[in-house]
């Protein structure tokens, strides 16, 4: 029962990956062409993703059996409602890549552009694959594509410190990947299968046990590291702050979400099998989420570097998502899932706007950037909208998730966390208001800042577009719900107490 678009499912993964393999060859004469090539490939990918989503909306979740092998014997691709995330993901890439065309001028020489864009394409393809695969080992391999390209993308912009931040990211990321592989192997040993649905069924037969629990814990820790939850977030701030801004937007907005999507997949397996009582684990998630919110905000307050500030706020926002997942009530999980997308959008806005400002002025600290809004009004306005949005104030996209998760907290009778969520967000606003004050209401201290010009349109267009989307989705908050609600309602009947 699949329509014509279902055939596109493997190609939506293969296209960016093959595009990446071709990038050096395509750009051999004109390295700058790599950027246009990558954009074209992502555009087609986005069209395919849109087709898949339309298929999903028309007929519900569907599978693709690679090589024609029945699900458990080959690799199964599964496009369910959570997979719909690939469409916004591809679209965000389509917006971010044009921004990087001119932005890279000050980051790297032309000859390194082809591998850079190849890495971006690999990153996109890896994430798309991660979202649609229905096979545990395949999930691991895609994780590695994403991680490996992310490590490298962190380091492309600078030398010593960038390489160091990337290496730190690599070590921690590699250990987390290993934990994931270990957990996969354990489940394989227990069930004899790697297909998620099959594993879930077989786990129900095998029943619980320490090994099942340890596998779950290994997955959880692994994905928490990927998502940069509070105690294991140490790799994130340096890596995200030091990377070139388009890369920061990708990493902060989307790559950390690999951890969240992964967690959702593991939930699907375990809840489907009903072998573990996850109430205690959910409670731990709620606490970790709350602590992440506060600690992320707390660290961010002391930052002067705008990108470092944004990087810390990612930790806070992941805290929201995890808090929502842990609360395990329908509204909370819906809010968390919606925030996966909204945060990507907001963070992309913020990082691209910050990148524009850095690109035009050459400064990156608040104290240097005073008064920049007069010189760059549109970019600063985008930054302001992003800042308001990330704090979750209406009428912006950030509010939607805060509303849902708060609703979920009270629905789950966890009122203290509802309060913590609402007021924790205000705590975060302290540092954004500092930023906005500096940009708008203080006198410039550098001539370069006062005389900076607006960015070229290839950079301003994406920023303005993303900022407008932040506002529009604040009002039309119901749109992401179309995809998220069925997925959550599928998942939740199996959910803990």
């Amino acid at each position: 029962m699949t329509g014509p678009w279902a055939e596109a499912l493997p190609w939506v993964i293969a296209l960016p990956l093959v595009g990446a393999a071709l990038t050096p060859a395509v750009a051999v004469r004109r390295p700058r062409a790599a950027g246009f090539w990558a954009w074209g490939v992502l555009l087609v990918t986005a069209v395919l993703a849109a087709g898949l989503v339309s298929e999903l909306l028309a007929r519900g979740p569907f599978s693709y059996e690679l090589g024609g092998w029945p699900a458990a014997y080959g690799i199964e691709l599964r496009f369910d409602h959570f997979s719909a995330w690939v469409l916004p993901l591809a679209l965000l890439f389509v917006v971010i890549v044009p921004f990087s065309w001119r932005y890279l001028d000050h980051v790297m020489p032309d000859e390194r552009r082809p591998p850079f864009y190849a890495l971006l394409l690999l990153n996109a393809g890896g994430m798309i694959g991660f979202c649609v695969t229905g096979d545990l080992f395949n999930l691991f391999v895609f994780t590695e594509v994403v991680s490996l390209s992310s490590y490298a993308l962190v380091a492309v912009g600078g030398r010593g410190l960038a390489a160091f931040a990337a290496l730190k990211y690599l070590f921690i990321g590699a250990v987390s990947s290993l934990l994931m592989l270990f957990a996969t192997a354990q489940l394989f040993v227990l069930t004899g299968s790697l297909n998620m649905a099959e594993v879930s069924l077989r786990l129900a037969e095998v029943g619980g046990g320490t090994a099942v629990m340890v596998a779950f814990a290994a997955y959880a820790v692994s994905f928490m590291v990927k998502a940069a939850m509070f105690p294991v977030h140490v790799w994130l701030p340096d890596a995200h702050a030091i990377a070139p801004s388009p890369v920061s937007a990708v990493l902060s907005g989307m790559v950390v979400k690999v951890g969240i999507v992964g967690m959702l997949r593991v939930y699907q397996i375990y809840y489907g099998a009903e072998v573990l009582e996850l109430g205690a684990f959910n409670l731990a998630l709620v606490w970790l989420g709350a602590v992440s919110i506060v600690m992320g905000a707390f660290f961010a307050i002391f930052q002067d570097d705008i990108k470092l500030m944004l990087a810390y706020s990612t930790i806070s926002n992941i805290g929201y998502i995890v808090l929502g997942l842990g609360l395990a009530s329908p509204y909370a999980v819906i809010g968390a899932s919606v925030h996966v997308f909204n945060h990507a959008l907001i963070k992309a806005t913020l990082f691209l706007a910050a990148g524009s400002i850095i690109h035009q002025t050459g400064f990156r600290t608040l104290s240097d950037l005073r008064g920049v809004a007069r010189a760059m009004p549109q970019t600063s306005a985008a930054m302001a909208i992003g800042a308001v949005s990330i704090v979750g104030l209406p009428p912006t996209a950030g509010f939607v998730c805060k509303w849902y998760i708060a609703l979920g907290a009270f629905e789950a009778n966890q009122a203290p966390f509802g309060f913590a969520l609402v007021f924790g967000a205000l705590f975060i606003f302290i540092y954004y208001i500092r930023m906005l004050n500096a940009f708008y209401f203080q006198k410039p201290v550098h001539a370069a800042v006062a005389q900076a010009s607006e960015t070229p349109w290839s950079m301003r267009g994406p920023v303005v577009l993303l900022a407008s989307l932040c506002l529009i989705l604040g009002v039309l908050g119901g749109i992401p719900l179309t995809f998220v609600e069925p997925a959550v309602l599928d998942l939740l009947p199996l959910w803990g107490p």
């Binding site: 000859e111 082809p114 227990l190």
Partner: protein
């Protein structure tokens, strides 16, 4: 010695031991790992895939998509190495502080931050030309330690045989342990040995500059091609026509060769790029 690493290790070790302790015993033939999917592969693998080496059958056919992504991973490693800044710009200890982050070069009238090392290299025309220029400037022997004539002689003597071994692994892979990846590793080993013994420039000539952009991506491209052919023939991405053993073998062969060549080239290039 600081105590916290040990504590961390203990903290990790206990749950892991607890986890593995409750797994089904691994040697038993009735363990799930042998009775589920694995059993079908052993029973019907040869008939379904036409490959006697079932590891290869799993690798290229049943779970061919994994292998596709796997060659993408190794291509990612090359792209990563290529994308990193080249050349050295050492900072002597105790010199001016390096600005945090990749401080960009401002445009126009903006003052240039002090972070000299962060400044970009001048854009060097076409990538290919630049790469070739770099190859030509490369000294005959990259290492500053002179290589002993004995080593050189032995390497030159053995290199063809090792390469032959790699080719054998590639072509006998369907019936003996071996296959594309193993061949790629051995190819790369020959290359690195030659590079160390004879100088990188001579080794680099083995992989012509003009071919590199295509050769390094040949494995993912071959997978995409085979996947497309399979899609046309059987209606499934990366599907092998189950009744046509010739087609199965041809497709598998293309993939193995592409993996060996692509993997070898990538590993060799990673080695070439790792100059200090």
């Amino acid at each position: 010695m600081r105590p916290w690493p040990l504590l961390l290790v203990l903290l990790v070790a206990l749950p892991l031991v607890a986890g593995v302790a409750t797994l089904p015993p691994h040697d038993a033939p009735d363990a799930p790992i042998h009775t589920q999917v694995g059993a079908r592969y052993l029973e019907r693998g040869v008939a379904e895939t036409g490959m006697k080496n079932l590891v290869t059958a799993v690798l290229l056919n049943y779970r061919g998509f994994d292998t596709f992504i796997e060659v993408v991973v190794i291509f990612t490693a090359l792209a990563a190495v290529l994308a990193l800044p080249k050349g050295s710009a050492p900072v002597p200890k105790g010199s001016a502080p390096v600005p945090k982050g990749s401080a960009p070069v401002p445009k126009g009238s903006a003052p240039v931050p002090k972070g000299g090392p962060q400044a970009p290299e001048p854009a060097a025309g076409s990538a290919a030309r630049a790469a070739r220029a770099r190859e030509e400037e490369r000294p005959e022997v990259a290492s500053d330690v002179p290589v002993s004539p004995v080593v050189r002689f032995v390497v030159r003597l053995l290199a063809p045989f090792i390469a032959m071994f790699a080719v054998a692994m590639l072509f006998r892979g369907h019936i003996t342990p071996g296959g594309g990846f193993q061949a790629a590793a051995v190819f790369a080993a020959v290359f690195i040995a030659l590079g160390l013994a004879l100088g990188q420039a001579r080794a680099a000539r083995l992989v012509p500059v003009d071919w590199r952009p295509w050769l390094q991506g040949v494995a993912p491209l071959a997978f995409a091609l085979v996947a497309w052919i399979g899609w046309r023939l059987t209606g499934a991405f990366l599907g092998y026509p189950s009744d046509d053993h010739t087609a199965q073998e041809a497709m598998g062969f293309v993939l193995e060769v592409a993996i060996a060549v692509g993997g070898g080239v990538i590993l060799a290039r990673v080695f070439l790029e790792m100059e200090t």
